[in-house]
Amino acid sequence: MTAPARERPLSPHLQVWRWHLTMLTSILHRVTGMALYGGAVIVTAWALALGAGPDAYQGFMDLMASPLGRLVLVGLTLSVFYHLANGIRHLFWDAGLGLSVTVSFRSGVMSMAFSVVATVIVWAIGLGSGAP
């Protein structure tokens, strides 16, 4: 094999593609996936605090109820629902379905809309049920 004349961009070619919706949904899938990695740290902290007793648990819950804690939790709720909806979209693609430009564009819009609507509903239920 001969060496190429210049260094070519490697996969996933972020620097040579024009921005379009299906690219955005793909990048968001990875970004929300990594955000959920951070969410796993928070879930683990919750489990450790619960195991450590009432004082540690109250400290954890106070942190989550703080403005920054709330912001992180809203972001994680969005991430959960987006990654869930877009993940289902990926499963259909893996089965060879919905790959046309029209359908993949439409399903991408639906994934994003679903994540926003589901987040609003979950927080309305959570805050409405008297959560601290």
Binding site: L36, A40, T44, A47, L50, P54, L84, I88, D94, G126
Partner: protein, 129 residues
């Protein structure tokens, strides 16, 4: 860029991970399992958010809930390791940094899962009461 792979190894379908489709399939299977598990987790989070310490302990101590939480932790731990692995394999091309991050990803995912599962089981089996 030097390519040491033979046309045969390319034809065998070895991807960026250096071997076949098993990881790809495992990631999909775990995502199918995570559809109901994630929805249950949102329900559990809403229940737990509405109660204090005693309520959370009572929720976790219920056998069905304890098993569901452990399933959520185990499957999502597996899935997030698989997903982060693909991202590392896509963007990290130098052998040393790539290997270090892949090992770190594995250790962090397993450690988080082990800590969380242990704590949940401790509470579920009465250790927090």
């Amino acid at each position: 860029m030097t390519d040491f792979r033979t046309p045969l190894s390319r034809a065998r379908g070895s991807g960026a991970a250096g071997h076949g489709a098993a990881h790809w399939v495992a990631e999909r299977v775990s995502s199918i399992a995570l559809i109901p598990l994630t929805l249950w987790m949102v329900y559990a989070a809403l229940v737990i958010a509405g109660t204090g310490y005693e309520g959370a302990v009572a929720f976790v101590a219920h056998p069905v809930n304890a098993v569901m939480i452990v399933l959520v932790l185990a499957v999502s731990g597996w899935h997030m390791h698989a997903g982060a692995r693909v991202i590392i394999e896509d963007y990290m091309h130098r052998m040393l940094g790539r290997s270090a991050l892949l090992i770190l990803n594995l250790f962090v995912a397993v450690l988080l899962t082990a800590l969380a599962v242990f704590s949940v089981l401790k509470v579920a089996l009465g250790g927090a009461l």
